[in-house]
């Protein structure tokens, strides 16, 4: 019989993502001042990293695929960094 069961890594990633979702919603109600926005974005980034590494299989990839996948992030970094500099440094 062919194995149709999901690998443990997938189940772990799914449960981890749901746990992080519960954590981020809970922390949103804890007064942390400016820390709330940072916590929400950090947890969001961890969730995105889990999806990319496990669901999108990037942990099994190397070299060229990672460069192609990272290119989007590289350009996004330029967009957000240069785009927000003007507004963040205005007095």
């Amino acid at each position: 019989m062919t194995d149709w069961r999901p690998p443990l890594a997938l189940i772990g990633a799914w449960l981890g993502l749901l746990a992080l979702l519960a954590l981020t919603v809970t922390l949103a109600y804890v007064p942390l001042g400016a820390g709330n926005a940072a916590v929400a974005l950090i947890i969001g980034t961890i969730k995105a990293g889990l999806v990319a590494a496990i669901f999108m299989e990037l942990r099994h990839r190397s070299g060229l695929t990672l460069v192609f996948a990272g290119a989007g992030l590289f350009w996004l970094g330029i967009l957000l960094y240069l785009g927000s500099m003007d507004f963040l440094t205005r007095t």
């Binding site: 062919t2 194995d3 149709w4 069961r5 999901p6 690998p7 997938l10 189940i11 990633a13 799914w14 993502l17 749901l18 979702l21 981020t24 919603v25 949103a28 109600y29 804890v30 007064p31 942390l32 709330n36 926005a37 929400a40 974005l41 947890i43 969001g44 969730k47 995105a48 999806v51 990319a52 496990i54 669901f55 999108m56 299989e57 060229l64 695929t65 192609f68 996948a69 290119a71 989007g72 992030l73 350009w75 996004l76 967009l79 957000l80 785009g83 927000s84 507004f87 963040l88």
Partner: protein, 214 residues
């Protein structure tokens, strides 16, 4: 898994063809990252200019629906990743059902989004159609809801395209799947997971701010 037909002349082998498809998908995803990136840059600029208005706007969104939708989308991504992982001629049945299940969860997401939109319409929070908000924060709240509707509508459009892709693949993969089908499914899965990642960030930017203050 059988290789249905010869590969096109520009490829050296079937793995070469499949790897090229994957790289192409990542290039497409990079363009999508920049599409949503532009929106998110606009969000940060206006949140920086109207911090109170954005917090107030965020408190008017339905966090229960937003959280449920995030869980629905994460689960549907899990089903698609599962289908890609076990794909073989012997598992066509389960793969078909996993893809149909993921597409149904996508439809649940769209339905919940529709309920949310109608609630916001009832609360007069739709800029350009019916927007009423009293007080000094009105401008910031209006900008927040402009971002909210544009970003979630573009995301929902991506969801609808993804649902069509998943259902098409569920139909095609039912009979005698080949390595080409596996590659097609893998590309569609990358797209579906990307739409999930976009939602993870939209959720953090739309629903979570301003919850700890009043």
């Amino acid at each position: 898994m059988p290789d249905s037909s010869a590969f096109a002349p520009q490829y050296a082998s079937i793995p070469h063809r499949d790897h090229t498809a994957e790289l192409g998908m990542w290039v497409f995803i990079a363009t999508e990252v920049l599409l949503f990136g532009g929106l998110i840059l606009a969000y940060f600029v206006y949140r920086h200019a109207f911090p109170q208005g954005f917090a107030a706007g965020s408190r008017h969104t339905e966090i229960v629906i937003g959280t449920a939708n995030t869980a629905v989308l994460l689960t549907s991504s899990f089903l698609v990743a599962w289908a890609v992982e076990v794909f073989s001629p012997a598992t066509t049945r389960i793969v078909t059902w996993l893809l149909v299940g993921a597409a149904c969860l996508g439809l649940v997401f769209i339905a919940l989004k529709g309920i949310e939109y109608s609630k916001e319409y009832d609360e007069h929070l739709v800029p350009g159609i019916d927007f009423q908000f009293a007080g000094p924060k009105a401008n910031g709240v209006q900008l927040f809801f402009i971002f909210y509707f544009i970003a979630t509508a573009i995301h929902a459009l991506h969801m609808l395209i993804g649902i069509c892709l998943l259902l098409t693949l569920a139909t095609i993969c039912r009979k005698a799947p080949t390595t080409r089908h596996h590659t097609a499914l893998h590309s569609a899965a990358l797209y579906w997971h990307f739409v999930d990642v976009v939602w993870i960030f939209l959720f953090a930017l739309i629903y979570l701010p301003g919850r700890s203050t009043s």
